[in-house]
Symmetry: C2
Subunit: 280 residues, 2 copies
Amino acid sequence: MITSTSNVKIKEIVQLQKKSRLRNERGIFLVEGLRMVQEIPMERIEKMYMTEEFYKKKGKALLQEQAMSRKRASPQGKEPLREEAAQGKVLELVTPTVFSYMSDTKTPQGVLAVVRQGGFAKEALMDAKDAHLLVLDNIQDPGNLGTIFRTAEAAGVTGVFLSRDCADIYNPKTVRSTMGAIFRQPFVYVEDLPGTIARMKEKGICVFAAHLQGERSYDREDYRKKTAFLVGNEGNGLRREVEEMADVRVRIPMAGRAESLNAAIAAGVLMFEVARQRRE
Amino acid sequence: MITSTSNVKIKEIVQLQKKSRLRNERGIFLVEGLRMVQEIPMERIEKMYMTEEFYKKKGKALLQEQAMSRKRASPQGKEPLREEAAQGKVLELVTPTVFSYMSDTKTPQGVLAVVRQGGFAKEALMDAKDAHLLVLDNIQDPGNLGTIFRTAEAAGVTGVFLSRDCADIYNPKTVRSTMGAIFRQPFVYVEDLPGTIARMKEKGICVFAAHLQGERSYDREDYRKKTAFLVGNEGNGLRREVEEMADVRVRIPMAGRAESLNAAIAAGVLMFEVARQRRE
């Protein structure tokens, strides 16, 4: 049982909550709350922190569930998680005070996992059969980014490409707002967005820029072929060098005096139009 | 120039930022920032607070613009705003310290307006030609609610009905996230949501409940007739007594293991499907 907030492991968690760079160097991120922890693919959990109260009420059952699913996954492989936990390899109990200190939330539930980041290859994402790609240029709001991931999974997006200056998907607020999509939605951060889009076009993917001055209405295009959408920053839209790479600029027709849509809403309308056409 | 945070007017603003009940008793709300203040219909402004710096850089021009538009609106009527301002009826200058104290934002721009709440009649909203209505049951997140208003305006929604226990549309965070739609999107809070929906049906409006277990896919329905969508709480969906009033339950088909969509995204997909069908 860790009882002190100056414990070196606890101090590191606090740093990992705050620092994107540290998370990326270490190749890990943090996940809090029962619902979210249940969504984590077993093999990616490095460590679990729980309060004793959480462990007794829900943690024990959670660990047994996970141990069983791990056993099913590789019966000859690693020992079940419960036994590692018993050895203190995965599970650490902490006092409520320590937990509050390490948690990013106002009303912590008493469970936090250290999880390995996923990794996807750019080329493989582009080669997906019936590619339905989303390309995000400098999306800044962590909640928006999480909602876009959650929506992308539901709309059947096969890959999300993010410019390096997008918000960090491993930000604790973003992780929460993905509602688990972060563990399932394939994505990759790329350095050179225009170069990546050029490569998509070489592979026969039709690239649509979501644009307020788009010449074509988004619902007049055919998205049954391989499709990528470019979606830009909340305030400024797409950078010129990104927008110029598109085959077509599409707009979402708007009534009233609304100037623009929220970036997650615009992306949602476009992605579900693809899904709608592909169901027909 | 108000120089003290214990000034009675300033104390009242601080209370108005925090207290939904006080805003509703007084029939007013607060709007901050240049972009948002520019969107306010002239005749609804009761008071403006500015720092001297804001007044010199942008406030003067803003007041002149507004005075002109007010003069155009009623040439025989009230004196232009600028003159009232000179008399201290509308404009109050405050020190930067006082402004920070009264502002709801972390980096205040130095302009805040006290604005009269709008009012719409239920029956008139239901009688709109080509009614396209959105009915919100217990939406709790202020940011979500603002985004729904912004999206509704853009999708051509003719009226939004909110159950009394929805978040307060006049919450400062909600006002900001409407991006000005709060001044233009017709809406009304109602006490009896099931009764209101019954009245819609009497008037020949077809009522669709957005539901995870909906029997019909949302894109297989005809929304060119008078249409209302029921959208429920972020975590719990529609209350049974509200859901039961619907003519049809529709679902948005989802890929992957996503359990649900964010409420604003779901509403956005549905509202823009209506707009799409009505353009065809």
